[in-house]
């Protein structure tokens, strides 16, 4: 044995075996039936040195193309301050476990409390949990929370204007969990309040899920939605893009009972899909229906203000099959990422990012539609993402990719969903328009 991750020398091994009273390492598996002992070889390469590993991944990395990103669909290319990766790499954060031992985990517990506070501010909700895996599963957890909150109703409604991958995840969870999941029709790219009313008033509805901005980037008008839900004791659930909430009317202001979404937009790397983190907020009344970890304030034996994991009686390690959810982790490190991001950007920077993204998207939209080769599909207010129709969509898309630009996400046969963030320069935008 001779590997940098394995400290045992042959003498160590011999001394330890002697102490245990066993002849060789094989003897440690004496009770494992011979028939299931693994005696072959794993189908893996030989060990690589660090230099070889670097070379290997450099070569793999070259098979990816780094494109100037105008794609969104829930994942946005925002600017990340250099402070964040630097602080995140501190191994006291990186290599610690869930903060069960509060006496030596105040770092984690403090920043989770800060995270909860900031997310509650951003969403305009009373409280937030310590984070979820990501946005789609957070939405599914909200669906189940609504289902359990209601004693009799078993139906959850979702607007057709939810992103496709969120709908996909909801359908999977609903199928197995026994939730009846029904769509609410969209008209002109937004949720139909009429249709929603009709379905809620028919009864049996435990919750209603909408998205802001919606799958087309449109800012929807939810006036009256919360009342429609609350009249029939259904929970109103709003999924939002976290960074946009610096300016947008909040889920709290719309009267949401639960607010969920992804925090990737808070400067997290796009990272080919993860890790991100989700958030989940509620009114004070529904505090104990939230899944996942929650950190609260308390005091210690020396009378100091300290923080600790709390409301644990909701959780799987205590309630087992009666838990509100099976979730036992939070995305702590990504929550720290977002917390430092919000501390760096602060009250003003968060608004500036949102406004610049908004302006840049509207500028691009104006330039594209002025060519008359692209047309805005829905004439509705949008934030930093919009849907256009273009005859030559595929040719344009391929040309852009050849020029190092990811021009958006293809939708249907002739549409393109385009997102712009504060990271895009005027030159990049003009180049994209020039390709049309």
């Amino acid at each position: 044995m001779n590997h940098k991750f394995l400290p045992h020398t042959n003498e160590d091994i011999q001394q330890m075996l002697d102490r245990i009273g066993i002849k060789d390492l094989n003897g440690l598996y004496a009770e494992v039936p011979e028939s299931i002992r693994f005696k072959g070889d794993y189908d893996l390469p030989e060990a690589m040195s660090e230099l070889e590993i670097r070379a290997f991944f450099e070569k793999l990395g070259q098979k990816n193309s780094l494109l100037t990103c105008f794609a969104g669909g829930g994942v946005y290319d925002h600017y990340a301050p250099s402070v964040i990766p630097n602080l995140l790499s501190r191994s006291e954060f990186l290599t610690s476990y869930t903060p069960y031992q509060a006496e030596i985990s105040q770092g984690t517990l403090h920043y989770i409390f800060e995270f909860q506070s900031m997310i509650a501010e951003l969403t305009g909700m009373d409280i937030a949990n310590a984070s979820m895996y990501e946005g789609t599963t957070a939405t599914a957890e909200a669906m189940m929370a609504a289902f359990h909150n209601s004693k009799k109703a078993d139906t959850v409604l979702y607007s057709e204007t939810l992103s496709e991958n969120i709908i996909g995840v909801l359908k999977t969870y609903a199928h197995f969990h026994g939730v009846t999941l029904r769509p609410v029709k969209a008209e002109e790219g937004v949720t139909s309040h009429e249709e929603l009313k009709k379905q809620v008033e028919a009864g049996g509805v435990a919750g209603v899920i909408v998205q802001q901005p919606n799958r087309y980037g449109i800012i929807e008008d939810f006036t009256g939605f919360a009342d429609t839900c609350h009249d029939k004791k259904a929970l109103f659930i709003v999924n939002s893009v976290a960074s946009d909430l610096a300016l947008l009317k909040t889920p709290g202001e719309w009267g949401a009972d639960l607010a969920v979404g992804d925090i990737q937009s808070l400067g997290l790397p796009m990272a080919f899909g993860g890790p991100y983190a989700g958030y989940m907020c509620s009114t004070e009344k529904l505090m104990r229906k939230l899944p996942g970890r929650i950190v609260g304030k308390t005091c210690d034996s020396r009378g100091q203000r300290v923080f600790v994991l709390t409301l644990q009686a909701r959780e799987q390690h205590i309630r087992r099959q009666k838990a509100t959810s099976n979730i036992c982790s939070n995305q702590s490190l990504m929550a720290l990422y977002a917390t430092i991001y919000m501390s760096i950007m602060g009250k003003e920077g968060m608004k500036e990012v949102a406004q610049t993204s908004y302006d840049a998207a509207h500028y691009l939209c104006e330039q594209l539609t002025a060519t008359e080769k692209a047309k805005l599909v829905y004439d509705k207010p949008f934030f930093n993402e919009f849907l256009v129709q273009m005859k030559e969509r595929d040719a344009f898309f391929d040309k852009a990719v050849r020029n190092g630009i990811l021009p958006g996400i293809k939708v249907d046969d002739d549409r393109l969903l385009i997102a712009v963030t504060e990271k895009r320069t005027k030159e990049e935008i003009d180049t994209l328009v020039g390709l049309l």
């Binding site: 794609a71 991958n165 500036e352």
Partner: protein, 496 residues
């Protein structure tokens, strides 16, 4: 140690007018957001300068304890070394700056990583194929149970709504089963700490979807009757699920696929060295046997003649096995990348040394400490074992006290009060990363604490003494929940 000048909460360092960011000038012209779409009041986020933010979080970190700080014998959590090279590779721009919806021809390198680790994990576990999509162990459990349920449903075998879970199982097992809509049936353990095959037999019938097992189990014991259990479960038409929380000791020794498991999940943050990050992100890949491949969630990476490709969902009105998405994209890619780096660092041969060395360390600690600590099941253990508190119960010193006293000596505590089979459970898992010197130091300290418990029990009962804070008031936190800074301010004002 923590410098109090920089405040306990970032909000307390905020001053209107300060900023820690810089952005380019907005050159896009002003486009006003309609008032009806705008929030009425700003979010009360902090306003600080950059150095204040850096010092604040640096000070936070100094109140934490990670694997890089010291020995972390946290049972069931496999707190092994998290190699630094993993971090370097996972921060390469060629991987971090990819949008998940880029055309496949522009992400061939990323897909190759995913495909290769699917194959590597399949080989290590003896399964036919693997999905990397689940975001954590619990998410993997849920995914695995969904696969089992789908398999029965597809065959029209809809009576199978129950899943058997041992009484020693992690709480997540029954919770995942419940989320999947399955009813939990508990099977008892024998006095030797293994699944009681005689108790299992009468539970098996045509209503059983499957059985979940952790092997080695949560007591650190290998379920040696596994061939018989697999046969019994399969004979009744059920499928066998492997909770991979304790896979580490089996690296180089045995594979779940060879034991008869049909579905497994792995915790890349345990066995495959990715950092725990204070509670996440993790990654919980799920492996399946041949007949269950069609039930793997989408999207899924495959290899074709033209290169790597993604099998994606067809969006249908109703749920279908062809449209079974469990998350946004292809899992926690950067975590997967770290695990792949780890596997390549160890390679085919050294990875086989992991299990035996982890097992050696655990048995060595157990043998050295069983004179002072109560060992309820005195047998060969695998990667971890469970003490039932101090042997001498007359001192009144509890497992909690011993755990807290360990913090004073610079060790993380073991997992305590789990499994529920013993009142004073103390679960110790050293992992293969720890040298004999470190382990001898820990053993010595545990003996010192046992001596303190006999001679100066109050010293142990009041521990910890040297940590930044003392024992916390859990009851106050739960009785009077204060979960945000806004609530904290409100509470202080109402007290005045």
């Amino acid at each position: 140690m923590n410098n109090k000048l920089y405040g306990n909460l970032i909000f307390e360092l905020s001053h209107p007018g300060r900023r820690a960011y810089s952005l380019p000038e907005n050159r896009f012209g002003h486009h006003p957001l309609p008032d009806a779409c705008r929030r009425a009041k700003d979010a009360e986020l902090p306003e600080c300068d950059e150095m204040t933010v850096v010092r604040h979080y640096t000070n936070h970190s100094e109140n934490n304890f990670g694997v890089d700080n010291g020995f972390y014998p946290l049972g069931s959590c496999t707190m092994k070394y998290n190699p630094v090279i993993n971090e370097e590779i996972s921060s390469l721009k060629a991987f971090t700056d990819l949008h998940p919806q880029q055309p496949v021809e522009t992400v061939q390198g990323a897909l190759e990583v995913e495909y290769n680790i699917q194959r590597a994990l399949a080989s290590i576990t003896g399964m036919a194929d693997v999905t990397l999509n689940p975001y954590a162990g619990a998410h993997g459990e849920l995914t695995g149970l969904m696969i089992i349920t789908s398999y029965h449903q597809q065959r029209g075998d809809t009576k199978r709504t129950k899943v058997i879970v041992p009484d020693s199982a992690h709480g997540t097992n029954p919770a995942s089963a419940a989320v999947c809509g399955l009813e939990v049936v508990e099977v008892k353990s024998t006095p030797e700490g293994l699944v009681d095959v005689n108790d299992l037999r009468p539970l098996l019938g045509d209503d059983i979807a499957g059985m979940m097992m952790t092997n080695p189990n949560t007591l650190g014991l290998f379920e040696k009757d596994i061939p018989e259990i697999a046969k019994l479960v399969h004979d009744c038409g059920g499928l066998l699920y492997y909770d991979g929380a304790n896979l580490n000791p089996l690296l180089g020794a045995a594979r779940p696929g060879d034991m008869g498991f049909d579905v497994i999940h792995l915790n890349l943050h345990k066995t495959f060295s990715t950092p725990h990050g204070g509670g996440g992100p993790g990654s919980g890949p799920v492996g399946v046997c041949e007949k269950l491949i069609p039930f793997l969630p989408k999207p899924h990476v495959i290899k074709t003649k033209e290169g790597f490709a993604i099998e994606d969902c067809r969006l249908t009105e109703e749920y279908s096995t062809a449209d079974n998405r469990i998350g946004g994209y292809l899992g926690n890619f950067l975590i997967i990348l770290r695990a792949y780096t780890y596997i390549l660092s160890l390679g085919r041969n050294h990875i086989k040394e992991v299990g035996p060395l982890a097992t050696l360390n655990a048995n060595y600690i157990k043998e050295c400490l069983k004179d002072d600590y109560e060992l309820p099941i005195d047998t060969l253990c695998k990667h971890e074992f469970v003490f039932d508190g101090l042997k001498d119960k007359s001192t009144g010193v509890t497992t909690m006290d011993v755990a807290k006293r360990l913090l004073d000596y610079g060790y993380h505590a073991p997992t305590i009060y789990f499994p529920l089979l013993f009142h004073e459970a103390m679960m110790i898992e050293p992992t293969e990363s720890e040298s004999k010197d470190t382990i001898d130091g820990f053993i010595k300290t545990m003996h010192v604490i046992a001596k303190e418990a006999r001679e100066t029990p109050e010293l142990v009962k009041e521990a910890p003494h040297s940590t930044p804070i003392g024992r916390v008031d859990d009851v106050l936190a739960a009785k009077h929940p204060i979960l945000t800074y806004r609530q904290l301010i409100h509470d202080m004002e109402s007290e005045e």
